[in-house]
C-alpha cells in the first residue's frame, strides 16, 4: 500500500512539475494569439488591448499560472483563443481518439511481440532466430515517418484501406455494428504504422529477457522433470522474465505516444497530434500546454499501470513495502 501511495505521489509531482515547466516556456514565447489582430486595420487597438486584459495575457507569470491552476481544478484548463471555448472539452475528444489508437496498438504490439520473442529466444542463435533479428533490424532502421508515409502511399495506390480521418462521411447513419466496422477499417493503417514502429524494440527486449531466464538452473531442473515445453515457456520462464518487461511496458506507452503524434498528423487521425500542431501554428498557448499535459498524463498513467502490474506480479515488492 505504501508503495502504491508513493507511486501516486510521484505521478502528481510529475504532473505539477511539467505544468510549471510548460508555463516557464510560455514566458519565453515571443508574441501571443492577439498579435496578428494588431495588423488587422479593422480591429481597433483598444479592442486588442481590451482582449489582452480580459484574458490576462499581460499579467506576470506566477499570476497566470495560479489562475490557470484554478481553472484546471475547475475542469477547464484555460481558454482556447482560436476555438473560443475552454480547453478541456476540446482536448478530451481528441485525447479519447488518441487513446483508442495507442491502446489498440499497445495491446496488439505486445500480443505479437511476446510469442515471437519467446519463440526466438528458444531458438537463440539458430537460423529462425537470426532471420527474425534481421527482420527487426530492418524495421528498426526505417524511421516512423518513412513507415507511415510508405503505408499511406501503399494504401492510396491499392485502394484497400481508407486513408485518413477516423470515420466515413455517412458514419452517423450507420448501425452500431457497422459503425464499429467503419472505425476498425479506418484504424487499420495508423495502428499498422504504430505497431510496426514499436515492434522491433519489444521483440528484442522480450527475446533478451527470456533468453536470460532460459539458462537458469531452475529451468534446467524443470526440463529434467519432463515438464512439457509450452508450460515450461509460458508458466515458468515468462513470469521469471516478467519484471524488466513490465517496466518496458510503461516505457513502450511513451514511445507509442510520441509515435502516434506524428502518425496522427500524417494520417489525419483526429487525435491530440493534429490539434497540437494547429495550435502551435496559431499560438494558442493554453491548448499547447493542455496537449502536453494530457500526453504526460497518459505516460504517467502507463507507468503507474506498469507499477501496479509489477506489484501484482512480483511478491518481492509486496513484502518489501510491507516491512519498510
Amino acid at each position: 500500500m505504501r508503495y502504491l501511495l508513493r507511486r501516486v505521489g510521484h505521478a502528481l509531482f510529475l504532473l505539477a512539475g511539467v505544468s510549471m515547466l510548460a508555463f516557464l516556456f510560455t514566458s519565453l514565447a515571443p508574441g501571443t494569439y492577439f498579435d496578428e489582430m494588431r495588423l488587422n486595420p479593422q480591429i481597433a487597438p483598444e479592442t486588442v488591448a481590451a482582449l489582452r486584459a480580459q484574458y490576462g495575457v499581460d499579467k506576470p507569470l506566477p499570476v497566470r499560472y495560479l489562475s490557470w491552476l484554478s481553472s484546471a481544478l475547475h475542469g477547464e484548463m484555460g481558454f482556447s483563443f482560436a476555438y473560443n471555448s475552454s480547453v478541456a472539452p476540446l482536448l478530451l475528444v481528441r485525447a479519447r481518439n488518441t487513446l483508442v489508437l495507442t491502446i489498440t496498438s499497445t495491446l496488439l504490439a505486445w500480443a505479437i511481440a511476446l510469442p515471437l520473442g519467446i519463440w526466438s529466444a528458444e531458438r537463440l542463435g539458430r537460423l529462425p532466430d537470426r532471420l527474425l533479428s534481421w527482420g527487426t533490424a530492418i524495421l528498426l532502421v526505417i524511421p516512423d515517418l518513412a513507415l507511415a508515409l510508405g503505408l499511406l502511399v501503399f494504401a492510396v495506390r491499392t485502394g484497400w484501406f481508407p486513408t485518413g480521418g477516423m470515420a466515413s462521411v455517412d458514419f452517423e447513419t450507420l448501425s452500431p455494428l457497422n459503425r464499429l466496422r467503419d472505425l476498425a477499417s479506418h484504424m487499420i493503417l495508423p495502428v499498422m504504422a504504430l505497431v510496426f514502429s514499436s515492434l522491433p524494440l519489444l521483440i528484442r527486449h522480450v527475446r533478451a529477457a527470456v533468453a536470460d531466464v532460459l539458462n537458469a538452473p531452475f529451468l534446467l531442473a524443470a526440463v529434467g522433470h519432463g515438464i512439457p515445453r509450452r508450460t515450461l515457456l509460458y508458466r515458468y520462464a515468462l513470469p521469471a522474465a516478467a519484471n524488466p518487461l513490465i517496466s518496458l511496458f510503461g516505457f513502450s506507452i511513451g514511445v507509442l505516444l510520441s509515435g502516434s503524434l506524428l502518425i496522427e498528423v500524417v494520417m489525419s487521425w483526429p487525435g491530440l497530434g493534429p490539434l497540437l500542431l494547429e495550435s502551435i501554428l496559431a499560438r494558442d498557448l493554453y491548448v499547447v500546454i493542455g496537449g502536453v499535459l494530457f500526453s504526460t498524463l497518459f505516460l504517467v498513467g502507463g507507468n503507474f499501470l506498469a507499477d501496479l502490474l509489477l506489484y501484482w506480479a512480483d511478491p518481492r515488492i509486496r513484502t518489501e513495502s510491507g516491512t519498510r
Binding site: V141, V153, S295
Partner: protein, 351 residues
Amino acid sequence: MKARRTIGKWLVTLAVLHGIVVCAGFFAPYDPGEQDRKSPYLPPMRLHLLDSRGNLHARPFVYSLKLRDGSYGQYEEDTAEPHPLKFFLRGSHYRLLGFLPGQTHFFAAENARIYLLGTDAYGRDQLSRLLFGGQVSLLAGLLGAGITLLIGLCIGAVAGYYRGWTDSLLMRLAELFLALPWLYLLFAIRAFLPLAVSPLKAFFLIIAVIGMVGWARPARLVRGVVLSAKERDFVRAARGFGATNAYLLRRHILPETSSVLLTQAAILIPQYVLAEMTLSFLGLGVPEPVPSWGNLLSSLQQYSVLVSYWWMYLPALAMAPFFLGYLGLAGSLQERGEAYKIETRSLGNLA
C-alpha cells in the same frame, strides 16, 4: 577484440555514407535549387543497357522523357536517342565544405538532363536535393547530439560529484524531462519560439531545441559513472595528494565517462536526425528553398502528390542506411562496454 573490429567496420560504413553527403556538390548532378521549368514531377528515369532496337550498350544510358501525346503531366520515354551516362563531367559550380570551388560532377549526361529520382513540383532534381538535404539534416543531428551530450555531461558531473541538494534538484528536473513523451516535448519547446524565420536562423533554432530536449538520459548515465568513479582508489589517492575538485574531475573522472558518451552519441544522432526530419516535414523546421530530408517529404502531405507522384516518397528510404550504420555502431559500442565491465569486475575479484 571482435567488438573492436565490428566497431571499425561500422565506423568505415558511416564515414563513407557521410562522405557522400559532405561531397554532395560532387556527387549530385545539379545544384539543388536549379529548376528545369518545363519538366515538373518528372518520374525517375530508368538506366538501360538494351536500347529499343535490341542493341546492347557497354555504357548504361537513359532516354529523356517527353509528354505523352494528348495528355497532361503523363510522361513516356523518347526512344529516339539514348543519352549515355558520363562520369566526371563539368557542370554547375559548387563549393565543397563551403569553400573549395569545383565544377566536376560524378556523373551526368551530355546534351540532356538526367533525373534518377525524378523531379519535384518546381522541376528540381530530387537526387541532388536529397544529397544536399542530407547535409542539413545530418549536421542538425550531429550538432544537436553534441549540445545534448555537453549539457548532459555538465549536469551529470555536477550532480554526481557534488551530491547533496544540487544532485536531488537536478535529478528531479531530469525526471520531469523524462516524463514527457519526447516528441511532445520537442513540439512544446518549438511552440514557444518564433515560427516564420529565415532558413539559417530556423536551422540554428532547431538545433538548439533538439539539443535541449534530450539531456536527461545522458545526464543520469554520466552521474552514475561519476558516482562510481569518485570512489575508485586512484581518485581517492589523488585527492589525498591534495588534488583540487576541478583537477580531479578533468583528469580522473570525466575521462571515465567517454564510453557512455560515445554510446549515447551513436543512439542520439539518428534520433535527432529524425527529429529534424519530423519538424521540417510538419513545416516547423528548415523552410524551403533549402532542402532537408524532412521538407523533401512535406509535399507528400498533399493527397494529389500521394496519389500521382509516388517517387516523391523515395527520399524517405535514403536515411535507412545511415540509421543502420548508427544502430550497428551503438550496438557494438554497448557490447564493448559490457565486455569491459566484465573484464574489470573479474580483475577486481582476483585482487
